[in-house]
Amino acid sequence: MFAYLARRVLVMIPTLLAISAIVFTIIQLPPGDFLTTQIAELEAQGERGAAERAQALRAQYHLDKTPVERYGIWLIGLLQGDLGWSFEYDLPVNAVIGDRLLLSFVVGFATVLFTYIVAFPIGIYSATRQYSWGDYGLTLLGFLGLATPSFLLALVMLYLANVWFGTAIGGLMDPEYVDQPMSWGKFLSVLEHLWIPVLVIGTSGTAAMIRRLRANLLDELQKQYVTTARAKGLPPGRALMKYPLRMALNPFIADIGDLLPQMISGAAIVSVVMSLPTNGPMLLSALRSQDMFLAGSFLMIEATLIVIGVFLSDLALAALDPRIRLHGGADK
């Protein structure tokens, strides 16, 4: 396992380097930059000295250097924990995304927790009681969850939450706590508002997980080793938990790679509809305004989390199910 860990980490390093190069290239692709737009606006307003100011700003942010030099400066900054400067907010990127990352993580983590807590018992119930009334009912609910667009559910939930529970529409906290430091009151306000986005963002994922878990578990339960275990008198609960459920969970472990970036991406469209202060809307805004360091930082953080997530899922799979694919081959 130690050798596997070292080999796997070694693969991550060039992968992250390649991703950083691609991210940097992508954020440089659109013609012009944030400063060009800003200077054009100043010139349109007739401000004197706009050209000199543009030159000074370009030198300050290294925009007058070659792309390779700029990439090197950006990469060294990333290693030092300096994500650059946000032109749009006129603040360091670290300061701009700090709170948003935390709130996005809270929403993402709560959504993942909700998905697993709801999907697992239902998936297991549906598989072990296939074609029962309960299975049919839950399958119908699952299909409804899959078929309902998240943004539509968001609009409906916003209305219902306001009419039934009196919860303020939009946002992740009451207006008086916005831009305030974290406090007990703010925390409770976040909790009060959290269930709506969690329900909206988590519904389709939960429905999809129920369907997949049901299908995987049904496959496993029909295998010979389960029949043998039952024939030998193993209690039904143990015959289910010992191997079939573990084997059925393998695809979900492989999906950890997607979970981590989801936790901070903040489901952009739903966040826009619900006015959530998460990363999604800010990334959209940064891409639109060519705020290159802010957009690049978001993309790089998400890509890094994907790489770390895939790494963790590979480690978990190697520990839980170190099996060769039959008809494959082991290198000598």
Partner: protein, 160 residues
């Protein structure tokens, strides 16, 4: 007497990986100078690759021998495991690709006297697995599904 050892040809890849890993982690750690957030990641990773290099060096000095009575590991981490004291037999496959088509096997044997591990990069690995499997069958050990499938991939029927 049957012997499994790791020829230099089998270890050179791991030495190269350790060297590249150390270069990727130590170079920026030193170049950055004063302690930054990145050092909390780079320094432990450098330790990991240093450990990997040490483990590869140990592998190169180890010999696994077996006969009708048991299996022995000589060199660093020496151990002796008589077959009639073997309590655990696991054959794991560590994939280097997501489709699990490429990778390497690791045999883990454990008993009251100690434990012995061997990788498929060693010469005569198949012979060691066959001998250990026969002993495990004679002891009535139960194989987990992963071990059974890996044995099957090596042409050994776990149930026979």
């Amino acid at each position: 007497m049957n012997v499994l050892r790791y020829p230099p040809k089998a270890l050179i890849g791991d030495y190269a990986r350790a060297a590249v890993g150390l270069a990727f982690t130590l170079t920026p750690a030193i170049a950055l100078g004063e302690w930054t957030a990145a050092h909390w990641v780079l320094v432990p990773l450098a330790g990991l690759f240093a450990g990997f290099a040490l483990r590869t060096f140990r592998r190169g000095r180890q010999r696994v021998t077996w006969d009708a009575t048991g299996v022995s590991l000589s060199g660093p981490g020496a151990a002796r495991l008589p077959w009639d004291e073997m309590r655990d037999f696991r054959l794991a496959f560590y994939a280097t690709t997501r489709d699990r088509a490429g990778g390497w096997m690791q045999l883990k044997l454990a008993g009251t006297a100690g434990r012995v591990r061997a990788d498929s990069s060693g010469e005569n690995f198949a012979g060691l697995v066959a001998a250990a499997h026969a002993a495990a069958r004679a002891r009535g050990l139960v194989f987990d599904p992963a071990t059974a499938e890996n044995l099957q991939a090596m042409g050994i029927d776990a149930g026979s």
